[in-house]
Amino acid sequence: MVAEKFTIAIEDSDEAFTCSSDRNVLKAMEQLGRKGIPVGCRGGGCGVCRVQVVGDGRYRTGKMSREQVPVDDERQGICLACKLFPEADLRLKVLGRWQKHFITGMNPEAA
């Protein structure tokens, strides 16, 4: 079976890229050299690539850390891009890194 290809658009940016149904969205973005979603562990664990699917685009997800994606969040279309597989064109709102903590006494600008 040939995997279908879909367009992934990042809200509040001009960024859009193609992702096939058998590939996770984060990997598709990275392999095309595109940006927009922060990249962390790529294993569904750290929550850095948290996104919200906006609208009614269909998708499926792999197993993700429940700590990073509680059930209520998941019902609202929140998921981790590294475990997100499109089944339609998707619009994503990036929630990721700026919700994360940094080392105390350090910030990314200073680092």
Partner: protein, 307 residues
């Protein structure tokens, strides 16, 4: 013999999202050996150069991270003495019965102000390295993947690391080997040793408690680190950074992630620690070079990606 008290990091209990995928990763890719499985579904693994029957315990859960890290004492008497010192220091001990982990003796568990759980234990069944203790060969044939020699240390993120570090240095007899000072002169990164390794445990000050930065495994040579990196690309393992060098500990390293997003490290070549050395101090403005000696800058992943 001068080496008593806490000898080494003896086990790390890691949560994984998918057990089958994780066992394949830790055995075929990392090169650990599966030695046991218990009725709770936990899987026990060891590296080839370790004699005790396990050093890594995997537990399937809905969020990754670390359950606890166990340190082995030289003797039961040493363990009891150290437990007494912990209690005198005001730390509550939870006793975990012998056999709760297969083939492991009684464990004394305690919490640190960083939110992490640690254990002391003195007994674990030795099954050896397959080479024997008489006229052994230098390494066994048939090793897989990165062929790591041993579980070496963990780096943990959490609050109150000054207080937490003091438990290890002032109560359990560890030495502070390296530290980073903030511009205000407070320690926000600490490395401690219970042996003559440059680190047996490390902490980074972080607002969220009980976080895992990485579980580290030792290799012997830079060539082995490079070969490990090759295997990561062959098998599409998520690489964080490296191969590169740390300023802290001088280790030659690569950071990468297990299938659940827990960071792992393989490294070689830190220095020999002796207790008559002064700790090494890194200043905040040199933190980039301290962590990644070649890049000389911290990346956001080092600062934020934890499980």
């Amino acid at each position: 013999m001068s080496f008593t008290g806490v000898m080494r990091p003896g086990h790390a209990a890691i949560r994984v999202l998918d057990m089958d995928e994780s066992v394949t990763y830790y055995t075929e890719r990392m090169g650990l050996m599966k030695t046991d499985e218990d009725d709770q579904g936990r899987v026990y693994l060891k590296a080839w150069d370790e004699l005790d029957c396990f050093s890594i315990v995997l537990r399937e859960a809905d969020s990754p991270g670390i359950d606890y890290t166990g340190y082995k004492t030289f003797s039961r008497a040493d363990m009891d003495e150290l437990v007494g010192k912990l209690e005198d220091y005001g730390i509550d001990i939870e006793w975990i019965a012998e056999g709760e982990l297969n083939n492991c003796g009684e464990r004394a568990r305690f919490q640190t102000p960083s939110g992490h759980s640690f254990e002391l234990y003195s007994e674990k069944k030795q099954i050896g390295d397959g080479l024997g203790r008489t006229n052994p060969n230098p390494w066994p044939e048939g090793l897989k993947g990165m062929q790591v020699y041993r579980f070496d240390h963990v780096l943990l993120y959490g609050p109150n690391i000054i207080e937490t570090t003091k438990i290890f240095t002032d109560v359990l007899g560890f030495d502070l080997t390296e530290r980073v000072l903030t511009p205000e002169g407070e320690m926000n990164v600490t490395f401690v040793s219970c042996s003559n390794k440059a680190h047996d445990l490390a902490f980074v000050e972080y607002p969220e408690p009980n976080k895992l930065h990485h579980v580290s495994f030792m290799l012997m040579t830079w060539e082995e680190v490079l070969r490990a990196a090759d295997l990561m690309s062959m098998h599409d393992i998520s690489i964080d950074i490296g191969p590169t060098r740390h300023g802290i500990t001088r280790g030659r390293t690569i950071y990468f992630f297990d299938p659940s997003g827990n960071r792992n490290e393989v490294f070689c070549g830190d220095y020999t620690w002796y207790p008559d050395r002064e700790p090494i101090t890194w200043t905040a403005e040199e933190l980039g070079r301290a962590i990644f000696y070649h890049d000389r800058r911290l990346n956001e992943n080092f600062l934020t990606v934890v499980t």
